[in-house]
């Protein structure tokens, strides 16, 4: 009787911890998902500096713009293989918006990544050459970000 109760209690505890894990992360891909979200956050932070100057929300500063653009260009060339393991998609993990088709269309994903690398390299070359050059270079960066998000990111609910 006691053994049965213990088994039931252990079973219940296991089941509830699985539920807890599902709703609070704790999945096998959490570290990878966190790492790539941090990568995206670094893009957004550096873009925020360039975009803030482009839209006139902050003063143009050639040195700061070049630093931010160099960061972007560097980020875009990092090999991200380690944080996109197979199975870490939005179908099986609720803490990511990465659609499963990323893993089915790898050549296209790589092509879109290459487009971002090119757009950010152009931004790196332009950012120190005045506000107009920076403004002209930011459109293609936004397009490159958006092209991948449009195809491979689950829309927000």
């Amino acid at each position: 009787m006691i053994r049965k109760l213990t088994a039931a209690a252990v079973g219940l505890a296991l089941a509830s911890s699985a539920v807890f894990a599902a709703s609070h992360g704790g999945g096998p891909f959490d570290a990878a998902i966190k790492a790539r979200q941090a990568h995206m956050q670094l893009y957004a932070h550096n873009l925020g500096i360039l975009g803030g100057m482009a839209k006139g929300a902050m003063d143009y500063n050639a040195d700061l713009a070049t630093v931010a653009a160099t960061n972007l260009a560097t980020l875009a060339t990092l090999n991200q293989m380690t944080y996109w393991p197979e199975g870490s998609d939005s179908f099986d993990n609720e803490n990511t918006a990465a659609l499963p088709k990323i893993w089915d269309n790898f050549p296209d994903v790589a092509k879109k990544g290459q487009a971002l690398a090119e757009a950010t390299a152009a931004m790196q070359a332009a950012a120190g050459n005045g506000l107009d050059a920076l403004r002209a270079a930011i459109g293609p960066v936004g397009e490159a970000c958006g092209a991948c998000h449009k195809a491979y990111r689950k829309p927000k609910e």
Partner: protein, 296 residues
């Protein structure tokens, strides 16, 4: 007794005829287009303002290939599945045999060249306010785009919504002429009203619908369940839209949100079009969005 039945029968037949007549598809008078000069360059602006590609390009279209209007995108709704048709200039698969007047009838009345009703998934309740000049120019521009041979797919709509004559009743009940924002506060907001209410058909996603799929104008642009998917489309009335003009211009031109995420969902394709419009148009849209009633 027999006479009474006959009278009732006659009255019913008359009522039936009246309903039939009232639900006949409407067409414009060709004379209304006399003297209008088509301008394909202006037509391209109308094409971008109207977002034609966002529905009529192929399902896998990119920013570059979206000018091929092959159709084939599916829109799942409570009434069935609608499939966007081919509107490329192909003579058989597309609209290669249309005249400008056919496009006027389609956009202003929701009437096909064969004289049948279109489903309001084609947003003619918005496009009805498009000017004949803009439609004629749009038609000229559409003819310059690549012809594509992909055949249009039939809609998959079940009874009773598959009876097209019934759409005449729907139009009688729900196709309201005129504008929602009756008195725009400035010429700029008035231009924005044309772009948002007529061509841009923003309300088709940002305004909730009733059980027959008609827009609830009392909650104009106040956010709604996604009409063709999951999730919600946001409230963009002044009650919730607190982005600055700079934020909105950046969003429209580059697709960046104020925290430098990128535009998502079906809005991504809207921004592909907006980003190619002149700044004056985008500022007009913002002026309009500031002028509409704030609805929580």
């Amino acid at each position: 007794m027999t006479a009474r039945w006959l009278k009732l029968g006659a009255a019913l037949a008359l009522a039936g005829a009246a309903v039939y007549w009232m639900t006949l598809p409407e067409k414009s008078d060709p004379a209304g287009l006399a003297g209008i000069k088509p301008d394909a360059e202006r037509g391209r602006q109308v094409f971008l303002q109207g977002g034609c590609a966002s529905c009529h390009s192929a399902p896998d279209a990119t920013r570059e290939t979206r000018f091929v209007l092959a159709g084939g995108r599916r829109f799942e709704s409570p009434f069935g599945s609608f499939v966007a048709p081919n509107i490329s200039p192909h003579p058989d698969a597309g609209i290669g045999q249309w005249q400008a007047l056919d496009l006027v009838n389609a956009m202003q009345h929701g009437t096909s060249p064969a004289g049948t009703h279109y489903y309001p998934v084609f947003p003619y309740t918005s496009y009805q306010n498009a000017t004949p000049d803009d439609i004629v120019s749009l038609f000229a521009y559409l003819q310059t785009l690549p012809a594509d041979p992909t055949p249009s797919q039939p809609h998959e709509v079940s009874f009773p919504f598959n009876i097209r004559q019934g759409l005449g009743l729907w139009k009688l009940a729900f196709q309201r002429p005129g504008w929602v924002l009756a008195n725009p506060p400035s010429p700029q907001a008035e231009r924005g009203r044309y772009l948002v209410e007529a061509l841009g058909h923003c309300a088709e996603c940002h305004t909730p619908r009733n059980f027959l799929g008609a827009l609830d104008r009392s909650r104009w642009l106040a956010g709604a369940p996604n009409p063709v998917g999951t999730g919600r489309i946001p409230n963009i009335t002044p009650a919730r839209m607190n982005w600055s003009e700079l934020d909105l211009m950046t969003y429209f031109k580059q697709g960046f949100t104020p925290d430098f995420d990128t535009v998502g969902g079906s809005m991504a394709e809207v921004v592909e079009n907006l980003s190619e419009l002149p700044d004056d148009d985008l500022r007009a849209i913002i002026a309009y969005l500031r002028a509409i009633p704030a609805i929580e």
